[in-house]
């Protein structure tokens, strides 16, 4: 297989895809579901229910809080217990809606049948209608970044979309949710891709998959050839060489269409690409074709010491603790529980944190895997420079950030950092490079915002 990849840097973490061949199971309903109002990039959603209100599965419980925002829907039926705060994946207490679960009653207008709806059978679906339905269903990027999907489909007038790239890379170790989704819902994903292409008014689509998932590459290649034969759409499944962070938007665009997105504030559509996660494509299918808002998702629950790691279709709002129990409970010893994978996941301060729109995995690292090693002096080996997929110099950015030399660190392009962690992963001296760089980046971004506000 002649696999492509991105052109700068990258690392190769151990895969640890323990749950590749574990078929997805439907997770049990929680007793109580917790819905953080901030499950996406942008303004938090605004609650539209009150304590004591009855809700059904699919009832909107919070509306979009601004243009860059997304509504939130209940994944359960029951009574609103309270609107309060709870610890979320960031470790801070944030506003949430808590619902006591009673039965499992769905909104009537959601199509719960398994029938595959095709775009050609629905002439009413104009591009505007598609984008509108996606927006109203609260669909956001499901790969973890959670950027509202409808905004990506309506690029700024300065940019012109030419293709949709489906991100099915899943380059994070451990996580297999996207892989299971592809193996189990390939037809729906392809319809979702067609909807995305139609919504963005483009006729080219790519699906980027790493070569460690040969079955998914084969399946989707075959199905895509059938589904799009004779249509106006050209869809290509692109096998990609295994390399982290290929699932990063910019790296994926480079790998698939050989174009590099310029430094921020440029976004992929500036080079013609709209990148959507494979989970998002599925969510788009369900939202547009089944009138089903985004309230459940595929999530991997995994860890080397976990008794029965698995893949789940989970109602959002389910506390991670419930899923960990199903998988055999917390392993003995000291654990680090991650929302996401080991490269970019967030370590949780509590396992009561619920599954949200962007939670592709609950990864449990145990013992030595959970701990960092002691940092040693930098030996200036330049391995971080070689690993940085953005062509930056991590050792320098970390040092300058540590010295609080904001002016120089801005000149060294710190805002281009995508926080993938390749530098720290590769550092033989175990230096906390990304800790320092994050601090520098957020300070510099604050300085830039203040400067722009003055103008």
């Amino acid at each position: 297989m002649n696999a492509r990849t991105f052109r700068i840097g990258g690392v190769h973490p151990e895969e640890n895809k323990l749950t590749h061949e574990v078929a997805t199971q439907v997770a049990a309903l929680p007793k109580q579901a917790i819905f953080p109002l901030s499950q996406h990039i942008g303004a938090p959603a605004k609650p539209v229910v009150q304590k004591g209100d009855k809700v059904k599965v699919g009832t909107m419980i919070a509306e979009a809080g601004g243009f860059v925002s997304a509504p939130i829907f209940s994944s359960v039926s029951g009574t609103v217990f309270k609107i309060d705060t709870a610890i979320d994946a960031t470790g801070y207490r944030k506003p949430v809606i808590i619902i006591n679960v009673e039965g499992d009653e769905w909104e009537e207008n959601i199509d719960r049948s398994d029938k595959l709806e095709l775009v050609k059978d629905h002439p009413e679906l104009t591009p505007e209608e598609i984008v509108n339905r996606i927006k109203n269903a609260g669909v956001v990027g499901m790969g973890g970044a959670c950027f509202p999907t409808f905004i990506k489909l309506t690029p700024p007038p300065t940019a012109k979309a030419e293709c949709v790239i489906i991100n099915a890379v899943e380059c994070e170790p451990y996580i297999t949710a996207d892989y299971r989704l592809m193996m189990e819902k390939a037809d729906q994903i392809l319809v979702g891709l067609e909807l995305l292409m139609k919504g963005a008014k483009v006729n080219r689509g790519y699906i980027g998959i790493e070569t460690n998932k040969p079955a998914a590459i084969e399946l989707l290649t075959k199905k895509a050839a059938e589904a799009f034969a004779g249509s106006e759409y050209q869809v290509e499944v692109v096998p990609l060489k295994q390399r982290y962070p290929q699932g990063g938007e910019k790296q994926l665009v480079d790998a698939v269409i050989r174009r590099q997105v310029p430094a921020p504030p440029a976004i992929p559509v500036n080079v013609g690409a709209i990148v959507q996660n494979v989970g998002t494509a599925f969510a788009v299918y369900e939202a547009v074709m089944k009138n089903k808002p985004l309230f459940e998702r595929y999530t991997t629950v995994t860890g080397k010491q976990l008794k029965n790691p698995g893949n789940f279709i989970v109602r959002m709002g389910t506390p991670m603790k419930d899923l960990i129990e199903v998988c055999g409970g917390m392993p003995e010893g000291d654990n680090k529980v991650l929302a996401g994978g080991p490269m970019m996941g967030k370590a949780l301060t509590s396992i009561e944190v619920p599954i949200c729109k962007g939670t592709n995995s609950v990864t449990i690292l145990t013992g030595d895997d959970a701990r960092r090693k002691e940092a040693q002096p930098c030996i200036r080996c330049a391995k971080c420079v070689g690993a940085c997929p953005m062509g930056l110099e991590p050792y320098l950015l970390a040092k300058l950030s540590d010295l609080k030399n904001w002016e120089r660190v801005e000149k060294e392009d710190i805002v281009s950092c995508i926080e993938c962690g390749s530098c720290q992963f590769t550092c033989p001296a175990h230096r906390p490079l990304l800790d320092n760089i994050r601090q520098g980046k957020s300070t510099v971004m604050g300085i830039i915002r203040a400067r722009n506000a003055k103008k």
Binding site: V11, V271, I379, G421
Partner: protein, 332 residues
């Protein structure tokens, strides 16, 4: 319930360590070390052992009694590596007391004064060698002939290939070069009349070590290839222009070129951080080596060329940046 560990991402690590890299270089030096034992015998064993033990001892003592560091850095392998490289640069008949002075310079002056591993500007082993060369020019420029396995201080010395090359240039007589062994003999290092520093005698062993380091991703190709390539190209042009200059194969296989290009110039701490910078650094070292070898006071210019470019490394790091993502023009 047991506690939860919280830290920022990434939570995975590639398991590379400082020790793995340092000991990796030492492993890569083993073929050359064995060859030097084979060619120079007892003297080689004494010089190398003294140098390694002295470097580790000085690092330990300075850590403990001068800097009073709680954590002693001797186990990271860098002091032993400096000792081995210093030994490789010395003649195998050098008295122990001179080696001790060299080790003290290398570790004490060049490394620990600047703050230890990672902070030194100049390659410690080369500083040690340069200090000895200035302080003891006679002892440091007489090189034992190979094959005197049982001898140490009493070893018979001979003219190195580089001295012969220099003689040819000085006299302007190309026939002087006829004394040189052929390039293949230089490559293997097995020339009974030949002489030189013990670690640099066999280009083959050093190249093997270099391949090992490339395979283990301890170094990248940029520095060695740019140095050797530059020297080869300039030497070839000069040889074509005037036969008093030795042929390029003899030039790259003699003296400290391979040792310097593969093991000394690639020292992490003192070489540039970007591939582009490393190539600039390598080309400059190659150029300076030729200049010093052909027109300088010493027959060998490798170590001075590296030391000079060590001084330029911070400047190169400041001005030579890697290609940032997004600067590549879009391909249609």
């Amino acid at each position: 319930m047991s506690k939860l560990i919280v830290s920022l991402s990434p939570h995975a690590h590639g398991n590379d360590t400082v020790e793995r890299n340092m000991y990796g270089v030492i492993i890569a030096l083993l073929p050359a070390l064995l060859v030097s034992f084979y060619f120079f015998g007892l003297g080689s064993v004494i010089v190398c052992a003294t140098s390694v033990i002295a470097c580790v001892f000085f690092e330990w003592a300075i850590n403990k009694y001068v800097l009073r560091n709680e954590r002693n850095s001797i186990l990271d392998g860098s002091a032993a590596l400096t000792g081995l490289l210093l030994g490789f640069n010395l003649p195998s008949n050098l008295p122990i007391w001179i080696i001790l002075i060299g080790a003290l310079f290398a570790i004490g002056v060049a490394k620990m004064t600047f703050g230890g591993l990672g902070n030194n500007i100049f390659n410690p082993a080369l500083v040690g060698r340069a200090a000895l060369l200035v302080a003891f020019p006679a002892q440091m420029t007489t090189w034992p002939k190979v094959g005197q396995l049982g001898s140490y201080l009493d070893a018979e010395t001979g003219a190195t290939p580089l001295a012969i090359m220099k003689e040819a240039i000085k006299s302007g007589d190309a026939s002087v070069l006829d004394q040189l062994p052929d390039a293949f003999t230089l490559f293997i290092g097995n020339h009974p009349d030949g002489a030189g520093a013990m670690g640099e005698i066999c280009a083959l062993a050093l190249i093997l070590g270099g391949c090992y380091m490339l395979w283990k991703k301890i170094i990248t190709w940029h520095i060695p290839v740019s140095i050797i390539g530059t020297v080869f190209v300039i030497a070839a042009l000069m040889h074509l222009a005037n036969p008093i200059y030795a042929d390029p194969f003899a030039v790259i296989f003699s003296g400290g070129l391979m040792l310097g290009a593969i093991f000394m110039a690639t020292d992490y701490v003192t070489s540039p951080m970007t591939p582009k910078g490393q190539i600039i650094y390598g080309v400059a070292i190659g150029f300076l080596t030729i200049v010093i070898r052909n027109w300088g006071a010493y027959p060998e210019g490798m170590s001075f060329a590296i030391l000079i470019m060590n001084a330029f490394t911070p400047l190169i790091n400041t001005y030579v940046k890697p290609k940032r993502f997004g600067e590549v023009p879009a391909k249609q």
